[in-house]
């Protein structure tokens, strides 16, 4: 491959392409102590910028999340933009969006772990954190959406004197259970690989700070037995969580696919939503990696161009898969020629909100395809991050088009009306800020880099000479 590439690109450019395997993190090992020190330092260095940002975010969370939500609960959903026929607004858009974001974490840490993609090692945790915090936002959005959130407990199956249970026929019920399951699993799956690192931190922590780490590390001392059990547990989870991940977003899609609405009841929605989720998830990971790398100490050592390259490839593939599913559904709709679906399509394209549709296609397909094909470009952190941002906006628009725009058209033309978001805007900002805030705090409370995994990888990797070229090889650790 390297040989094939040589005549295509000038040597100079060629040299910058990290072709030299020595530049890979796996082949650029450092002593354990030093590496631990680096991670620890990255944890407890928080400059004024950090506090400023955290302060701003806290303010936003207090106003746009808690106050706005409280205001909405007190005054009813009238303060939001929902109306008839658009009974579902941006809240569910956000729900689907955040669940999408949360998918990347599991995908990267579980699937790539199972497939032994070595590149994943330094940023599995960064991704898993996204999963957990993303799901928190998704859950919050669902409850924001409810007209009487104070009765939300009725969604839980609990024995009562009325002998009433939740309706297990309702896709919303499945959704509710699925998200809870996923939140639980992903949190545990986030925690397991965290144990050795927590233990590491515990060993270096001083004073009262030691206590929480001591509790969390469950007395992990790093004996062989413990490692073995941990490995087994992680493998089991890695395999077990993959179906959960796929099922969750499929079930989310059923909220729409099971409904009796033009444009919604489509059999392809399940896989289409899963891919959509990965699409936005991957993009989000790219953004997060960039932010970590550019804001935290020593991260340039752990997160390198090679990783962005890897993410770039993934994003490109997913984008293509997404396009396939989208146009598949589109084609079926168009060919099926159902009266109402035709009208809906016409409305999404030519209606007053048509520009959203075009923007979505450009953001989700054109932009990634035009930029990510080039290794040099996709390996450039800021570029990849900005592509990620664009894709995320695009995917958010995609959900917006499915929900509020799709709901505008129903089988009773007399009721067709447009939807104008109101307080939803603030609440959206609120959820985003809450996500960022949680992430920032987490990045200072737990090692954002799974040190032991990196070290494990470095130990397992070595360069072997094959002819002239040095080839990277990795050996299983028993």
């Amino acid at each position: 491959m390297a040989i094939a590439a040589r005549p295509m690109l000038p040597a100079k450019a060629h040299a910058q392409e990290h072709e030299d395997p020595r530049e890979h993190l796996m082949h650029d090992p450092r002593p354990r102590g030093e590496m631990n020190a680096m991670v620890l330092e990255s944890m407890h260095t928080a400059g004024w910028r950090f506090y400023a940002a955290a302060g701003v975010l806290t303010l936003l969370v207090l106003t746009c999340f808690f106050y706005a939500w409280g205001y909405m609960i007190a005054n009813g959903l009238g303060v939001a933009g929902v109306n008839r026929p658009v009974f579902w607004g941006i809240f569910l858009v956000n729900t689907v969006f955040w669940i999408g974001i949360s998918h990347a974490g599991t995908f990267i840490s579980a699937i790539l772990r199972v497939m032994k993609v070595e590149g994943r090692r330094p940023f599995t945790r960064a991704a898993e954190l996204m999963t957990t915090f993303g799901l928190v936002q998704a859950g919050a959005s669902i409850f924001m959406h409810m007209g009487r959130v104070w009765l939300g407990y009725l969604l839980f199956p609990f024995p009562n004197e009325r002998g009433l249970w939740p309706n297990f026929h309702s896709p919303l019920m499945w959704d509710f259970l699925a998200i809870n399951t996923y939140l639980l699993c992903s949190t545990m799956y986030l925690f397991l690989p965290l144990i050795p690192d927590i233990a590491m931190v515990r060993d270096h922590a001083t004073g009262w700070r030691k206590i929480p780490y001591r509790i969390l590390s469950l007395g992990f001392r790093g004996t062989e037995g413990e490692w073995k059990n941990l490995q087994t547990a992680m493998n089991i989870f890695a395999f077990a969580i993959i179906p959960v991940m796929f099922s969750v977003h499929t079930i989310v899609s059923w909220d729409f696919a099971m409904a009796m609405r033009p444009g919604w009841s489509s059999s392809v929605f399940g896989p289409y939503f899963v891919i959509g989720a990965l699409h936005s998830g991957m993009a989000a990971v790219a953004i997060v990696l960039f932010m970590i790398r550019s804001t935290m100490k020593h991260m340039k050592y752990f997160i390198r161009a090679e990783h962005f390259n890897l993410m770039g490839k993934l994003m490109l593939i997913v984008s293509m898969a997404w396009a396939y599913f989208y146009f598949n559904d589109y084609l079926v709709m168009w060919y099926g020629g159902d009266k109402w679906e035709k009208i809906l399509q016409e409305f999404t394209e030519k209606g007053p909100l048509g520009y959203l549709w075009f923007a979505m296609l450009i953001f989700n397909i054109a932009v990634p395809w035009l930029i990510l094909w080039n290794r040099k470009w996709r390996s450039t952190p800021w570029l990849l991050a900005s592509v990620g941002l664009i894709i995320n906006i695009g995917m958010w628009l995609e959900r917006y088009i499915i929900i509020p725009v799709g709901l505008t058209i129903n089988r009773m033309p007399f009721t067709w009306r447009l939807y104008v978001p109101a307080i939803e805007v603030f609440l959206t900002i609120g959820t985003i800020s809450l996500f960022l805030l949680l992430y920032m705090l987490a990045s200072r409370l737990i090692p954002i880099i799974p040190v032991w995994e990196v070290q494990e990888g470095q130990a397992a990797h070595m360069l072997r000479k094959v002819g002239k070229a040095e080839v990277s090889t990795v050996s299983e650790i028993e």
């Binding site: 009562n160 004197e161 009325r162 002998g163 004073g207 009262w208 206590i211």
Partner: protein, 182 residues
């Protein structure tokens, strides 16, 4: 500082403190619920015991129970109908007299009250041969009325299910949401 606190919780004393705190919160909630179930204070502490003791039928003062949804709360005319014959003594009768001479309605507070989204009709229950005591307890032992039990949906359903026995059609009718909620 924080360290101290965290350690304090480690101590048995701290643990106990934590327990106590939890208990207070819990009991506060329980007290709250109890509050809503206690009988509110009435404009007149009407001694049911006495009147039932005199052998006055429930339906004499609450005739609505025979005809429709609500049995009705007696108006001052009804009370005064008898009491103008009787000397105004004690602490409560003067209150009544006052209402009468000011020609005000007596602001009774209903106690055996279901929420507004429940539509309870007395007639069929009386027609089904239920006695007042079955639901309202033995009034000959109460002064101001208090509910003998929580009047919640489980309580209704229990009785309805018993009543229906194994008559499936009747059961569907009696456990149908629209029987009470509309």
């Amino acid at each position: 500082m924080i360290k101290k606190i965290l350690e304090a919780f480690g101590q048995p004393l701290g643990r106990i403190g934590l327990m106590i705190a939890m208990l207070t919160v819990l009991s506060a909630a329980v007290w709250g619920i109890a509050q809503t179930q206690r009988a509110p204070e009435q404009p007149i502490d009407f001694p049911h015991r006495l009147h039932v003791g005199l052998g006055i039928q429930c339906l004499f003062c609450h005739p609505g129970a025979l005809r429709g949804p609500s049995p009705g709360i007696p108006t001052q005319t009804k009370c005064w109908g008898c009491h103008q014959q009787i000397a105004v003594r004690g602490t409560e009768l003067p209150k009544l007299a006052k209402f009468v001479e000011n020609d005000q309605a007596i602001p009774w507070v209903p106690v055996a009250q279901v929420p507004d989204f429940v539509h309870f009709v007395h007639r069929p229950h009386v027609a089904a041969g239920l006695n007042c005591e079955t639901c309202h307890g033995d009034l000959s032992k109460m002064t101001v009325y208090e509910n003998p039990q929580l009047m919640n949906m489980g309580w209704c359903l229990k009785c309805h299910r018993q009543h229906a026995q194994d008559d499936s059609e009747l059961l569907t009718k009696l456990t149908d949401c629209s029987t009470c909620h509309y």
